[in-house]
């Protein structure tokens, strides 16, 4: 897998500082699991955070704080560490994502959103006013041109799509600001599966009827 489209440096900075919303964070972490280039940048950015720790004005901890932790450590040393539950079937999804979805594409309970378009809302993710979901787009299907109320992260997991910006294949991420309009089309023989997080659901929800209206190549 060679990745050509990466997370925006500003998004990576927010990931490093810990200020990305949980839903954006999940998609960013999933790309990071696949992308050594972004990972190296995040490590550099986290050094900024480490600097904030080192130059911190100090609040003392209570005298007994260390002993309390030491006691916990002693207690743990006495107990034999429980073996982590080991699932033998490996998920096809990268690790941050794998805890929220079935182990394979076939097992996902897709719901039809529009002709040629199925979706699955990830359960248990806080997404403030946005959503995180998987989309399955049939080959040749175009989503009409649209903008986004806020940032939208689209990570390709399988297949590919093209839009005005370029071609996105597995591992690539489209990190779009609200002011960018695009018109993606699933452009390979296989269906395109994407993980998409949005900050602003309203515009996105409003898109659904538009998809129904304007869908081409169904």
């Amino acid at each position: 897998m060679s990745i050509h489209h990466h997370l925006n440096d500003a998004t990576l900075m927010a990931y490093a500082a810990g200020t990305l919303s949980e839903s954006m964070n999940l998609v960013a972490a999933t790309h990071l699991s696949l992308c050594p280039v972004c990972r190296q940048k995040v490590e550099q950015m986290e050094t900024i955070g480490a600097g904030s720790l080192e130059s911190e004005a100090l609040l003392p901890v209570r005298t007994e704080a260390l002993n309390q932790v030491m006691n916990l450590i002693d207690l743990e040393a006495e107990q034999t560490a429980p073996e982590p539950a080991n699932d033998h079937i490996k998920s096809v999804f990268p690790s941050p994502l794998s805890q929220f979805v079935p182990k394979d594409y076939e097992d996902i309970p897709w719901r039809s959103t529009a002709p040629g378009l199925k979706s699955f809302v990830l359960p248990g993710i806080q997404s403030r006013s946005g959503t995180v979901r998987l989309f399955k787009i049939a080959p040749g299907v175009t989503i009409p041109e649209h903008g986004h109320g806020g940032t939208e992260l689209t990570l390709v997991l399988k297949g590919s799509f093209s839009d005005e910006i370029g071609r996105f294949k597995a591992g690539d991420i489209a990190d779009l600001d609200g002011d960018i309009d695009h018109q993606p089309i699933a452009d390979s023989a296989e269906e395109c599966i994407c993980l998409i997080a949005t900050e602003q659901p309203l515009r996105f929800k409003n898109m659904v009827p538009r998809i129904m209206q304007y869908f081409v190549g169904m």
Binding site: L34, S52, S55, L59
Partner: protein, 246 residues
């Protein structure tokens, strides 16, 4: 009396937070701060049971950190389960993590609790620490940040998985990856000191005050796009300084 801190929280918190935010600001903005000065006293003190009383003195020493020494301590914890090394790390980092969490809006009690939990995680996860990949401070920052998000903000932070990369060929072996991570950390910190004020400001609001880009945009009344482009510019400069150092 350290218990004095546990009085009526709203007032004390306010006062302490103001004092500390003023101090960390001063430290952060002062370009003549001796970031690289080695001050092992800060971590080598043997009187682990003695409460730290002199806040002013401590905060003055706060920038003077020997990252290499701290990383060595963490390696000792990792490889030898060395409790004395852990106690030194605790003495150095627990107050810093506590201050970090406190400044981002938790109360005294919760901040200390999270500092303890962070250090407990340091002990538990020490076997995962790889000095070739991160300085101790960066690794501990990650743990503290993630715990704070989980416990305080109640929004999770997801870690990427080192294992997933084995699926892909790593084409990122620029010379930069070979650099000593402790050296790396100090170069980044020096580069930060030289950033233009407007870029420094948004880095401070993001990393020091935990504001999202949207919140920074509102606070400074500048467009979100401007916040993001300043972020990008700041990081570009930091990356350049890493490149220059080779």
């Amino acid at each position: 009396m350290s218990f004095a801190f546990y009085g009526p929280i709203s007032f004390m918190d306010q006062v302490v937070r103001e004092i500390f935010s003023a101090q960390s600001l001063k430290i952060f903005y002062n370009p003549s701060d001796p970031v690289l000065i080695s001050d092992r006293k800060a971590v080598k003190g043997q009187n682990l049971d003695k409460p730290v009383q002199d806040l002013k003195r401590q905060s003055d020493m706060a920038v003077a950190v020997d990252t290499t020494y701290l990383t060595e301590l963490l390696v000792k914890v990792s490889e030898e389960r060395d409790r004395d090394a852990f106690a030194c790390l605790f003495e150095h980092y627990a107050p810093r993590v506590k201050s970090y969490v406190f400044r981002l809006g938790s109360d005294e009690l919760m901040s200390e609790e999270l500092a303890q939990q962070t250090m407990l995680q340091v002990w538990r996860k020490a076997h995962l620490f790889d000095p070739a990949k991160a300085a101790a401070s960066t690794w501990i920052f990650r743990i503290a940040r993630n715990l704070r998000l989980d416990h305080y903000r109640k929004e999770r932070h997801f870690d990427y998985d080192e294992q997933d990369l084995s699926l892909i060929e790593d084409d990122s072996d620029s010379p930069e990856t070979e650099m000593d991570r402790n050296q790396h950390a100090s170069i980044v910190r020096n580069a930060l000191q030289r950033l233009p004020q407007e870029q420094m400001e948004i880095i401070r609001l993001s990393f020091y005050e935990g504001l999202s880009h949207g919140e920074i945009s509102e606070k400074l009344t500048v467009p979100l796009g401007t916040v993001k482009s300043r972020m990008r510019l700041a990081f570009k400069k930091i990356r350049q300084s890493l490149g220059d150092a080779l």
